[in-house]
């Protein structure tokens, strides 16, 4: 698999680390315990379109949001994380 880093161009998978699901959002401090347990421990395992965090540790050292399809392995977009991506 190759990811096209917005800062570095197309690079091999060995330069990146997978850093988790990019869709999870931190609950409010007042949220019930179940929401916090879900936030910390529970992850979906989608078959199809997904958004993931990747870290380009061997290149520009930026965190990236990768939109890809876990079924077809097609990579749709790779962007630097933005404020909106904060958990």
């Amino acid at each position: 698999m190759r990811l096209t880093c917005p800062h570095c161009g197309p690079r091999g998978l060995e330069e990146f680390s997978y850093r988790g699901d990019a869709t999870v959002r931190r609950p409010s401090l007042e949220a019930p315990e179940e929401d916090w347990i879900a936030y910390v421990y529970l992850r979906d395992n989608p078959c199809g379109a997904h958004k993931e965090l990747w870290y380009h540790g061997s290149g520009c050292r930026a965190w990236l949001v990768v939109e890809r399809n876990t079924l077809t392995h097609a990579v749709h977009s790779v962007n630097a994380v933005s404020v909106e991506d904060a958990p």
Partner: protein, 193 residues
């Protein structure tokens, strides 16, 4: 407690030759990191262009201007500008950017090595996971990557023949040794375990 003294290291070699290949330490340059603050990218680009004749480009190419000045993107919203030593580049850019960018001198942080000669691309390719074929890695192309375990900025000076490595000063000797081992047909890192 007994005083612990580190053994004195020999001064780093500045040039080795193996057959047609040469690895040489390049002269010091003034290297400056420029990171425009939010909303000031255009103004900072304009300032750098007027001062050095180079754009802060989003491409993977190093931009070269007159007087030996150049700039390349060194990551997210970060550019490395460089020029001749003693040109007071950091102070000049800091004054011109006037608080619209973070301007940091990086001269002491990096050393530059140049690998030259027929087969240089093949030697460089032993160390970096980047495709160095001239169709993609042409003159001026920059790659932030790893040479073995050492973070480097690799810059193509001339496809197949000249490759510049910009490396952290504290890792320069290790990189020099690794490239030297590769030049001798060895496998870098294999003898360190």
């Amino acid at each position: 407690m007994a005083e612990v003294l580190l053994p004195a290291l020999p001064v780093m070699q500045d040039r080795v030759t193996v057959g047609a290949l040469t690895l040489a330490l390049l002269p010091e340059q003034e290297i400056v990191s420029v990171r425009p603050f939010k909303g000031h990218f255009e103004a900072v680009t304009d300032t750098v262009r007027k001062a050095l004749g180079v754009m802060l480009s989003d491409s993977f190419q190093e931009e070269t201007g007159s007087g030996g000045y150049a700039a390349f993107r060194a990551g997210h919203n970060q550019w490395f500008c460089r020029g001749p030593e003693g040109g007071n580049l950091t102070a000049r850019l800091a004054t011109l950017c006037d608080g619209r960018a973070s301007v940091t001198n990086q001269t002491d942080s990096r050393v530059r090595l140049l690998l030259s000669g027929g087969g240089a691309a093949a030697i460089a390719a032993k160390l970096v996971p980047v495709d160095l074929h001239p169709s993609g890695f042409e003159t001026g192309r920059v790659a932030l990557t790893l040479a073995g375990h050492i973070p480097v900025v690799l810059i193509c000076r001339e496809p197949r023949l000249h490759y510049e490595f910009m490396v952290f000063r504290s890792l320069a000797q290790s990189l020099f040794d690794d490239i030297h081992i590769a030049m001798n047909g060895g496998i870098p890192n294999s003898e360190r375990v």
